[in-house]
Structure formats: C-alpha cells, structure tokens
Homo-oligomer: 273 residues x 2
C-alpha cells in the first residue's frame, strides 16, 4: 500500500508538472507572443514550442511510463504495446509538424536553417526517435521476431528511450534560451522572460519525475506469468473477470501486493517489458 | 571476456569524448576568444566554460563510474568511496570557482546576473550537487550511519547523481547557445560556431556513454562478500595477495567471470554501492 501511494503521488506530480507546462507554453504564445496561425509568420513559428511541449515532451513522457500504471495491468501486454507505440508515433508526428512550422517560418522570413546547436541536436533527436520507433515496432510488435532478439535489444530500447526523452528536454531548454534572446526579452528581465524561465524549470521537473517513475524496478508491470496466477484472462475488455484481481493488485487491501508481485516478477519479465 | 571487452570499449569511447571536449573548450577560449586571465574581463569569463567542462562535466562523469573500473576492485570499498567523494568535491570546487569567474566578469562589466534560464538551472544544479555531496558523505562515509539508512537512501543517491550529471550537461548546452548568440557568432555560421556546436555534440556523447556505463548492472563492482571469496585482503595496498584474484576477475582467463561474479553480486550489494 505504501509503495502504491508513493507511485500515485509521483504520477500526480508528473501529470501536474506536464499539464502546467502545456498551459504555460500556450499562455506564452497566445498572451506574450503573436498567437497561433499557419501563415508563414511568427504565429506559425509558435506552433513549434507548443507542439514540442505537448507531443515530444508530454506525450513521450506518458508513453514511457504507460506500462507502470496499475490500472492498465488488466489489459493484455499486446494492447499496452500498441498504446505505447501509438503515443510515441503521435509524439513523432507532432514533432515533425512542429519542424515543418519552423522551417516554413524561416524560409518565409529568409532566416537560415540548421545553424544553431539547438537545431543540430534537435534534428539528431528526431532522427534517432524515428529509428527507435522503427526498431521498437520491428522488435516488439512483429510476431515473428525471436524472443532472444527481443531480450537482447531491450536494454538498448529502454536506455535509448530514456536518453532521447532527457535529450529532447535539454533541446527544448536551449530553444527557450534562443527564443528569449532573439526576441530581446532577456537582458531587462521582463515578466515574459521570468514566465518562460519557469516553463523551463517545469519541463525539468516533469522530466525528472518521469525518469524517476520509469527507473523504479519495484513499480514495474508484473510479468504475464504472475498476472495469470491472479486472473484467468489478461485481455483489456474482460473487466468482469480481472476486476477482483486488479483490486488485489492496486487498491491495497493486501498491503504487500503492489511491491511483492513486482518483486517476484523481476526475473521473469526481462525479455519482454 | 566478451562483457569485459564491451566495458573497455565503452570506457575508452567515454574517455576519448571527454578528453576531446576538454581540448575543444580550451581551443575555443584560447584560439577563438580572448584566452584565460583573472582580470575581470572576457578572459576571466572564459574560465567559466573551461572549468565547467573539466570539473563539473568530465570529473563528475569519472566520479560516477569509478566503482565500475575492474582495476579498482582490489582496493577496499572505503578507499573507493574516498576517491568517489574526492573527485566529486574537486568537481564542486571547480564549479564554484567557475561561478566566481562569471559573477566577477558580470559585475566588472555591469552585466546583470541570474536573469537567464541557464543561470537559474545552473545555480539549482550547483546547490543540489552540494546537497548531494553533504548527504553522500553523511550517509556513506560517517561510520555510525545505520546500514538500513544507507540502503534506503541509495536509490535516491544514484538517481540524484545521474540526474544532476545529465542536467549539468543540459545547462552547459544552454550556456554554449547563449554565448554564441551574445558574441553574435551564430546567424552567419562562422567556423567558431560550427566548432563550438561540435563541442556541444561531444558533451552529449560523453554524457550518453557515462550514463550507459553507470546503468549496466552487469558491470557493477562485485560486493565485498563476493570479492572476499576470491582474495583474503581487499585493501588497495596489498597487491601481492589480490593480484591473482584480480586477474581472475578482469583478464578474462575465465571467460565467464566478469559477468558471473557481478550477477551473483546483485542482491548482496544493494545496501552499500
């Protein structure tokens, strides 16, 4: 029960930091900047920070920890893989649209592209994220991929995912820095600069919480073998059967279950989580 | 043997990326900028990037992976803790000197302090790093601290260390971005901007490699219990006794030893590594 409460607290804090970040980036572009439009001007550029924060940071963060939500353990592993891949695909699409916005704006205003460290690292991150998506689908969603390959690739998949997530936040912080300097909003410390600095801090807090949740082994989704001992059908739609099992796992009536089930699970689950 | 070779390859790549980063930051300030001095001018500011890269990034990175070097397993755990703490203390001192340089420069030139996101996040990182040092010494170097406290605090110590390390690299990338824009070296993409962008990429590569090495459980230092089965005295100075044991651990004459010893060790070592 203690472990479950800590998990929920960390999850709520992460969700709060993420949602407040989205509100902050929207207030930034709608109140302090030129709003949102698709006209080749500054309002088109503004889609860049908005879509990056919503897609490439918030959705990617949620995708990373989706397996850890106890409420999803009644769903089959395959269903969860599709949700994980789907959220990452959506994050990737939003990142690409966000890049189109910034290239469009640059080209319309004859501003050169790809000269800053922000642009270099950002493009590397988008390319590697695409590679991670393709390899992830190839390894874990194509049924014929050998289990031994899945197991061998898993450490790299997990490490790559966490590194890309952290890198994207770092690139966002560099983007915020650039934008405030280019808009000459820095040296005099106006309300806009302070407001956007707080957005930067919120993104770091969101990232730190997601990384904390994602790296606690005691909060892992139990292996299918363990879950099968608690219920007979692991499919998401079969709530009537898995309800009681889930309540045992997550509502804490058995004080030790949340942690204990996961501890038993660590060795079994190596090849496919 | 295979695991040992991969470890050495990762270590050499990290050392190379780190050392080339140091050369790059020195070339940047000595060749492209005003050199190094302690005169309140730009040459004093230049100590800021130099000391941050050498101390707060390179030395901190080495301190993080110091326990993983097989050549140090003949040293007692206490000796290694002192080296780990000493390197982190040195990194902290260099970071503080580096902050003094930038405040001195700002004050002499009447440039405001602490208005940018770089400065906010950088100061938070230095303060939390100091807290991590104090708590680390209190928990793991003061003999009377209960073993149960050490075990309970270890996940936070490891996570905090890795998060701070990643954050410091992100803050450095923001600093590079700021400096190039303020020096008006960006929009025309001169050789200096490209050179310094490469420095930024190198710092990310160094960070990624250190985080990879630090998070591979199969590369962990074996627990003292395991090491004691291979030699009778774990003290650093007693090479005559531990030499043969170390060769068994690290030279690969027993092909499985490097990985196997560490696997046996995982459960034993939870409370104090």
């Amino acid at each position: 029960m203690e472990a479950f409460r800590w998990f929920v607290a960390a999850l709520c804090a992460a969700a709060l930091a993420g949602l407040v970040s989205i509100i902050f980036v929207l207030v930034w572009v709608l109140h302090y900047r030129e709003g949102l439009a698709w006209d080749g001007g500054s309002a088109e550029f503004n889609w860049h920070p908005v879509l990056m924060v919503i897609g490439f940071i918030f959705l990617q963060g949620i995708a990373i920890i989706i397996y850890r939500l106890p409420w999803t353990w009644q769903c089959s592993k395959l269903t969860m893989k599709f949700i994980h891949a789907g959220l990452n695909l959506l994050a990737f699409i939003l990142a690409v649209v966000s890049l189109v916005a910034v290239f469009d704006y640059h080209n319309a205003a004859s501003i050169p592209n790809m000269y800053s460290l922000h642009s270099w690292l950002g493009l590397v991150a988008v390319i590697l994220y695409c590679l991670q998506l393709v390899l992830g689908v190839g390894m874990y969603l194509i049924p014929i991929t050998p289990v031994s390959w899945r197991a061998a690739f898993m450490p790299l998949h997990v490490y790559g995912g966490l590194l890309l997530f952290a890198s994207v936040i770092a690139v966002a912080l560099m983007g915020i820095t650039e934008k405030l300097i280019f808009a000459q909003k820095y040296s005099s410390s106006p309300p806009e600069a302070i407001f956007v600095n707080v957005l930067g801090l919120l993104l770091v807090v969101f990232g730190a919480l997601i990384l904390w949740i994602a790296t606690r082994t005691s909060w892992k989704r139990p292996s299918d073998q363990i879950l099968h001992t608690l219920h007979t059908n692991g499919d998401c739609e079969d709530n009537s059967k898995v309800g009681p099992a889930m309540s045992q796992l997550s509502d804490g009536t058995d004080a030790g279950t949340f942690g204990d089930v996961r501890k038993r699970n660590n060795k079994l689950d190596d090849q496919d989580n």
